[in-house]
Symmetry: C2
């Protein structure tokens, strides 16, 4: 078993792929992880922006949450219809592409790709944030922990997640149980104490208000809170994976996810209000996550707290996994349409799109390093991409209903139009309010990705126009090639190469590069070693050409000669033979010149269509 | 003009090499730099070891210097004779190799190579030490300054030092003038004040004695002081470069160098004694070099001080250059005798042995980093190599005179034997006293280098036995090769490759790798595209072979097929054609799979002598 087999698993045959048959219970963890885990950072992201308002901020949490929950419900009904209309899987790219054209499709794809990168980065950084809230001495190692988690997820995904459902199910339900328990206790204590429950461990006292309440700060908090909606589209992407009746099961799964998410968002907002919890500075070393403070207030630092924190940690880190499942799939579809390098379409040894996984891991890692693994700095980049994809998908659905045959379904049109309108407004609000904080990165990246994708396709079309040919084999004007063979001295390697040359051509030109301008010993022995035996055997005699190289360059004169020969014989093919001494030990690299490799590379770079290279190895035993 | 041309200079033709015609005036800087500059660190290295003796140490400087000067004179007379006996250049390697055999030669060569690395490292670090003595605020940047100086020297040497004499002459003579002036003033003031001159700026007061005087500390100080002798052999290496009468001019040059060195060593010792100067801790931040303290005592912090410091700095850094001139030359000779990789024997674009220069620069840089650019830590490694080379060279000279024809020249034999004896004793003293301080590194490195060099030669002989062949071309059993051509789909690239295949062989096997086990569309079209046209043209029909690859690997099945084919046809050669799409833009690397490159590499690694690769490029316009 090789190391690669151990780390990445044995290769899987294409025929080993199996159809998935997912029910609601398994569907919630697999497709809901991303959406549900948003509850762990969305409200906090909104509240972080309310820090300057001091304690006054806590009272704004409930109305803000109400707005976000309303938006969530609109998006829910929109996507319910998408599932119905696209039982084969209706990702934003597909829906936008099919209904609104290539440009809208690519726009949605770019937005989605950026969204997935951020899902991975935010999931990991928020998960590690939960961990360091529980163990503050780990705070200085936040970035290192993030990168370790990223590495782990990458390896797991390169192996392929065939038992994904089983792995995800436990932490997801544990997370839901813990959250609902915490919310239930909060409500119970609150009611019992007449609205003023006493926290077991009190949250840090909020700082004094440094800013007054204003519409701008509210819009910014709303924009950040919208990140709680990310991941809602996942079910609509993967409808195909559900068991019969596919559409019904998928819709029910989405319903369960949305209800759970609404309950959590409401519960967290309520808890923050009654316990007077405000966010802490995420850049500071005394940072504590909102959920950590809430759990401490509800139940103190006991087993319930630690189990909950572990569940949050697992759910957040696993939520990054959603990106690892979806990003490569989007790249694969784009690559099949020639919008991304074709290698994204290759499935690796474990049937996964390895290249997409590696690119996602690299970009996410870069992002984590750039932003120091702090969730709060990543949030402003996040929601733009997700909501742009929402908007395009919903707008596509409107078009889909409009062009549908038969009776216009005005109800459907209204729901999707409302979805498109609300998410569209949200995109604008988010892009404007977060522009200076980092959304400009996303706003710039989306068109850049678009331009790149168009350029890639143009390039492939250009190449394809040149090499495509559906005509049968043309056998006119066949002729044996001319052969050029560089030979520094006479020996076994040279003889073998020369025999090979004579076998494939009647015109063999042997090149001898020499510093001096007059024939050297090699040339003097040429007649004896080569010309006489060839003449005696009745074979065409190879021609010896001495190249003068005053600057001691060896490769350049050979390449120049070959190019000139090709120019002088415009209808002939020229095979340059490159003999090469091959040793299978690494240290041999230092003992022999790398001229053969350099000559091959140089001929490939400077040559033309009629110049090919025949590499003849000589293995040292 | 390319960047490389700008940094390294335009290439030089071999014929542009010119014979040098050096007289004594130019010879002293060129060949004496290393020896003369030793005066700047040798005495200081000895005195640093006397620090624990406190003020008592200062009185030991004169007797110690006397010992060292005596040894220097013995070495001088020895090398005078080497010059006479080897007017073509008598480096230690040459003399030991010719007279004492290969082993002694290689031993001398190893010792020399280590000596040169240390010459470079010590020269640079001592030069920068002089600079930081004058400008103490530069002390924390010592290492960075050392590396910058190393980079500069490396680039200058890669360009080739054709005007070396002129560059070196000015700082060398400036250094001599400053040193002699300082010594003359010291003597004058000392005599005028009756042996107790008043220093202009007093040297730091020596610390209290922490150790008693002992023979061990004296031997250690002597060993360190012996570094003052390094570089004396340079003239004997380069006799050929002097003008007629070569031997006389070379001997006179060596004489001038030795006299100047003796005067400086004596003068420094005298100055240290009368001004009560003791060395300062070289690891401390208040480190000041011996010469700096002497110059301050003599003339204060004026223009004379700064001019002298600059001269010392230049001479020391240029002395590193001696190593850059000689190290590559030794590597070149060893490489021509197959004791080092052959690439050391290639002269670069500027006629210098570029590889030797680069290796020296890398090793010196490593050493400087390892030892933090502090001269004192490098000194213990230094003298062993130099004196071992001295000993072997002198012993070789004894053998030379003994085996000489005609009358035995007992005078000559006595001088070289005395030289060999004294330097031999010194090697032992140095190795023993400095063993724990770092000489063990040198003592271990020398045999390691020896083993390496023997291993390299054995390898070359082994390879050479396999490929050497002085018989004329054997033309028996020629036959056209079998051709294997992988083809994923039918198009221009495939057609071109297939035409090429048909041109060079009657047996063409086309490989089609498919995931499925049954014939795909490509196979169904095969008859139409290839078989029919070939049959119609009366040509042998290429054979289509579909390879089943359940794991989606493309390269492995092809390589396996080719290897199996070679096994089944033990007398045939097999040409594997690898068509390759070539684009001349770097970004194209990401757009096309690297399968062609991987296939070529894989065939080279797993193939055998009868498998060759024909690379047919298709250039995208």
């Amino acid at each position: 078993m090789s190391i690669i087999d151990f780390v990445l698993g044995k290769p899987l045959a294409t025929s080993e792929e199996r159809a998935e048959q997912i029910g609601t219970a398994a569907g919630v963890p697999i497709f809901g992880l991303d959406a549900l885990s948003s509850a762990a950072y969305g409200p906090e992201a909104a509240m972080t922006l309310l820090i300057p308002l001091g304690l006054a901020g806590a009272s704004l949490v409930l109305p803000l949450s109400l707005c976000i929950v309303t938006l969530l419900l609109i998006v829910f009904f929109s996507y319910r219809q998408t599932i119905q209309a696209y039982p084969g899987g209706g990702g934003s790219y597909t829906v936008a592409h099919e209904n609104l054209g290539t440009f809208a499709g690519l726009l949605a794809a770019s937005a989605l790709m950026i969204d997935y990168v951020l899902t991975a980065a935010v999931g990991i950084s928020a998960g590690i944030g939960a961990l360091t809230s529980a163990e503050p001495e780990l705070n200085p190692h936040r970035l290192a922990l993030c990168l370790a988690a990223l590495l782990l997820i990458t390896i797991v995904n390169l192996r392929g997640l065939r038992e994904a459902g089983a792995i995800f199910m436990f932490p997801t339900y544990l997370f839901l149980v813990c959250m609902f328990a915490a919310i239930a206790i909060t409500v119970f204590k609150s009611v019992a104490s007449g609205g003023h429950p006493h926290p077991v461990i009190a949250p840090p006292t909020p700082g004094a208000a440094t800013e007054a309440f204003g519409i701008w700060i509210l819009l910014k908090a709303f924009s950040s809170g919208c990140t709680a909606l990310t991941g809602v589209e996942a079910v609509s992407n993967g409808v195909k994976a559900f068991r019969e009746p596919t559409v019904k099961v998928a819709q029910r799964t989405l319903g369960v996810i949305i209800v759970a998410l609404v309950l959590m968002l409401g519960g967290i907002a309520y808890g923050a209000k009654v316990y007077h919890i405000v966010a802490t500075d995420p850049n500071g070393n005394s940072y504590q996550s909102l959920l950590s403070m809430l759990l401490l207030a509800v139940a103190g630092r006991g087993w319930f707290y630690f189990v909950s924190i572990i569940a949050i940690l697992l759910v957040l880190i696993f939520s990054a996994n959603t990106a690892f499942a979806d990003f490569p799939r989007v790249c694969h579809i784009l690559s099949e349409n020639f919008f991304l390098p074709l290698s994204f379409a290759n499935r690796g040894r474990r049937l996964v799109y390895s290249e997409g996984i590696l690119v996602l891991a690299a970009v996410t890692g870069g992002l984590l390093i750039l932003f120091g693994g702090v969730t709060d700095r990543l949030i402003p980049l996040y929601a733009v991409g997700a909501f742009l994809a929402f908007t395009l998908s919903q707008a596509g659905m409107v078009k889909h209903w409009l062009k549908g045959e038969g009776k216009r379904q005005w109800g459907n049109i209204f729901v999707n139009a409302l979805g498109a309108f609300c998410t569209g407004i949200t995109v604008i609000v988010v892009a404007v309010t977060k522009f200076m904080d980092g959304a400009w990165v996303t706003v710039l990246l989306i068109p850049s990705l678009l331009i790149l994708m168009y350029a890639v396709r143009r390039h492939y079309h250009y190449v394809s126009d040149q090499v495509r040919d559906v005509k049968p084999l043309n056998l006119e004007n066949l002729s044996r090639p001319m052969v050029v063979l560089p030979m520094p001295y006479w020996g076994m390697v040279s003889q073998k190469a020369l025999r090979h040359a004579i076998e494939i051509s009647d015109e063999v030109k042997v090149l001898h590069v020499a510093e001096e301008d007059k024939p050297d010993q090699f040339c003097q022995n040429w007649a004896h070693y080569v010309e006489e035996p060839a003449a005696k055997a009745g074979l065409p005699v190879p021609e010896l050409i001495q190249l003068h190289s005053p600057y001691r360059f060896v490769i350049a004169p050979i390449v120049d000669f070959v190019c000139k020969l090709a120019e002088e014989n415009p209808t002939r093919r020229i095979v340059t033979i490159v003999p090469e001494l091959v040793e299978r030990h690494w240290y041999a690299y230092f003992l022999h010149t790398q001229r053969a490799a350099l000559l091959k590379a140089s001929l490939l770079m400077k040559g033309n269509d009629r110049i090919s290279v025949l590499n003849i190895p000589w293995y040292i035993k």
